[in-house]
């Protein structure tokens, strides 16, 4: 729909009080790369809505820069609202960067921002190119960055705001022509060096904003309009302002944990050309030919998303066997079944399927993105699941990658191994959960899990995790004992104590160290001083596995009794009846404690499906 009609429709919806509809329509019309006029028109339409009616999250941003940023601020506000925020933006006075950041009494600091955006351009980093010699270049770079390091330090001293620092939009002008890129000491060589150094110096609590990437994406010839720089100090084209504001808003969404986590993919004409059910393996377009290449490129991009922690799911209207066929047999498939956490191929409606995927993964629908080439399916999911992000997909598969990429749905300000592995973890959870659904008989399910538990004592390596379980468990903790790490080590050395830890692996992965046991050998009995277990592994048979181990220990030492103690708390009612279930008899009870006793002589071992992997004996 052309913009004038869109604006009219939005206006009508607003007048009719259909604010949520109007808001959604504005969001759908706001492509990341709109020009200035269109952006302002949509922004004005947005400002006509009562934003309080939209349940937005507050965010306070201070911007300080050395150029005219009024229009940019307005568009940043626009983009932040679309990203689900209610923004309060403080724009520091023109060219007051030093004062606003260094003076603890400045208006900027009094504003108490959550985020401070140091909106520099290349002009702020160094006046002129130096002379030849790489040594000279390094000193220049240090000198250029030094003032900003003192700004960051001042911010960290005076506030807990997150810092966003622009890097240099390396100019398009090249005094040395092509040679500009061939040495470090050239003007642009130095800007590039500064850009490489900035992230290294930034540290925690801040991130570098890739202003240079914005300029490249927009096109450097159009990025700077010299007339507007000289006339009104606009450092970059107003037509690029919307794109930069969009990138900034998506980054802030990522900072606030609003980035999307799961990508749900259709199959036909999304991951391959054609329809697998009709065209068969030989008929779908994948690999050979121009279109086939485009679909491979899209698959490769999706796979890279998965490798950085985005969870993948499939939602396709197909016979399941047909849907799986290319994954299993097509030589040019890049995405394999193993990469997909949840695979739904059936004839049910896609909104229901996506809800099922969300339940299976235990992820909120507001962390989902749905990609489907079919506009009818997109519309259905948008209507029924408005919190799912459903981008408009152009008909040409050659454009799929850039369409998804430019939306900035998966922004982050930090990255660790945990992020990279997130996909695998969700896949394992999903597999466990799917498996449970297939088995009506729980014992078949448990058998099929192939569980193995390794038993050890309180080795140094495990002490931190043991301490965590003892001190942080509240539910499955019979006596709610709390021991410091040094106390844990002392227990290990105590001759009259037996210390055990248990971990649990199954066919989908390793649950880690999930149970801790401390027994006291009183000569007459083994008393269970501490039994703490992670709730993640309840009802899998660990309760019986641990009991059997205690029974074995008691018998080996010739102890006639095992004593179990339960100290009730508001949080551990879940284990109030545990000892009874294990065959113990109640010996005594008062408000603070119940003592349970089991005669070891004839007590039976209890059934479970967990194999032992012994690490220590005793």
């Amino acid at each position: 729909m052309p913009m004038p009609e869109t604006i009219e429709t939005i206006s009508t919806l607003t007048n009719e009080g259909q604010y949520v509809q109007a808001f959604r329509m504005i969001g759908e019309a706001a492509a990341p790369d709109m020009d200035f006029l269109q952006s302002m028109q949509l922004s004005n339409a947005l400002e006509s809505l009562p934003l309080e009616a939209l349940s937005l999250k507050p965010i306070r941003i201070a911007i300080t820069g050395t150029s005219t940023l009024d229009q940019f601020s307005a568009l940043l506000r626009f983009r932040l609202v679309l990203a689900g925020f209610m923004p309060e933006i403080h724009l520091a006075g023109f060219n007051t960067m030093g004062q606003s950041l260094l003076d603890p009494e400045s208006e900027l600091h009094a504003f108490r921002p959550d985020v401070i955006w140091i909106f520099t351009t290349y002009r702020d980093f160094m006046p002129l190119a130096g002379s030849q010699g790489d040594v000279d270049a390094s000193a220049h770079v240090d000198e250029a960055i030094a003032p900003f390091e003192s700004y960051w330090e001042a911010i960290r001293r005076n506030s807990s705001a997150f810092i966003i620092q622009n890097n240099c939009d390396v100019p398009a002008d090249r005094v040395l022509g092509n040679f500009e890129c061939n040495a470090r000491w050239t003007r642009n060589g130095r800007y590039r060096e500064i850009n490489r150094e900035l992230p290294k110096r930034m540290g925690q609590g801040g991130t570098v904003f890739d202003f240079d990437a914005m300029a490249s994406m927009f096109g450097k010839n159009a990025w700077i309009d010299e007339r507007y720089w000289h006339h009104s100090k606009h450092a970059f084209s107003l037509d690029a302002a919307s794109m930069v504001a969009h990138a900034g808003a998506r980054l802030l969404a990522g900072l606030k944990g609003q980035s999307r986590k799961c990508l749900v993919l259709d199959l036909d004409h999304t991951l391959w050309g054609g329809v697998i059910g009709d065209d068969g393996l030989e008929g779908i377009k994948l690999g050979a030919g121009a279109e086939g290449e485009a679909f491979v490129a899209f698959q490769e991009y999706v796979l890279r998303l998965k490798r950085r922690g985005v969870v993948l799911a499939v939602c396709s209207k197909n016979e399941e066997a047909n849907a799986r066929l290319p994954f299993e047999k097509h030589p040019d498939m890049r995405i394999r079944l193993d990469d997909i956490a949840v695979f739904m191929a059936n004839w049910d409606n896609k909104a229901d399927n996506i809800r099922t995927i969300a339940d299976t993964l235990n992820l909120g629908l507001d962390s989902f993105v749905f990609i489907d080439d079919n506009p009818a399916e997109r519309m259905l999911v948008r209507e029924l699941l408005p919190m799912v992000e459903v981008p408009e997909i152009p008909p040409d598969p050659a454009l799929y990658v850039r369409t998804l990429d430019r939306l900035g749905l998966f922004e982050t300000v930090a990255f660790s191994d945990v992020d990279a592995q997130r996909g695998e973890m969700y896949k394992h959870n999903a597999q466990r959960s799917t498996l449970k659904k297939k088995f009506s008989d729980i014992s078949d399910f448990l058998k099929d899990l192939d569980m193995v538990s390794a038993i050890g004592d309180f080795e140094d390596f495990h002490v931190p995790r043991i301490s965590q379980l003892i001190n942080r468990s509240n539910q499955f903790h019979l006596t709610t004992t709390r021991y410091s790490e040094s106390e844990i080590r002392s227990l290990r050395e105590d001759e009259n104590r037996i210390c055990r830890h248990f971990n649990l692996q199954d066919r989908f992965g390793d649950n880690g160290l999930i149970c801790v046991l401390v027994l006291e050998d009183t000569g007459e009995a083994l008393e269970i001083d501490t039994w703490a277990m992670s709730c993640r592994v309840l009802s899998r048979g660990m309760e019986h596995f641990v009991f059997n181990h205690v029974l074995e220990l008691a018998r080996k030492r010739g102890r006639q009794k095992i004593v179990g103690i339960y100290k009730p708390t508001p949080k551990n009612t879940i284990v109030a009846g545990l000892y009874e279930k294990l065959g113990f008899g109640k010996e005594s009870e008062d408000r603070a404690m119940t003592r349970w006793v089991l005669e070891t002589g004839s007590a039976p071992e209890l059934p479970h499906y967990i194999k032992t992997k012994q690490q220590t004996t005793g």
Binding site: F36, M40, Q41, Q71, E226, Y228, D239
Partner: protein, 79 residues
């Protein structure tokens, strides 16, 4: 002065300045319209350049004093 250019320019400026197009006569300048400041002036220039597919030179931007100046200059660049 071309009436076509004038009415088109009036529509564009009225949208930006949130005023009736009729308030923007050839003699009207920034002093007469509340919303017309240095910032909205830039918005106007950017919009007019796009709408008429022309570019004002730096010196020309500095010299634009009222609606009439803009319309005249647009006319010169469009012919």
């Amino acid at each position: 002065m071309s009436t076509d250019i004038l009415s088109k320019a009036q529509a564009i400026m009225a949208d930006i300045l949130r005023c009736p197009p009729g308030d923007l006569q050839p003699e009207t300048s920034a002093a007469d319209i509340e919303a017309w400041d240095s910032l909205t002036n830039i918005n106007i220039i950017v919009s007019l350049e796009k709408a008429f597919d022309i570019k004002f030179a730096l010196g020309e931007i500095q010299e634009l004093a009222n609606v009439g100046d803009m319309v005249r200059l647009i006319g010169e660049k469009s012919s």
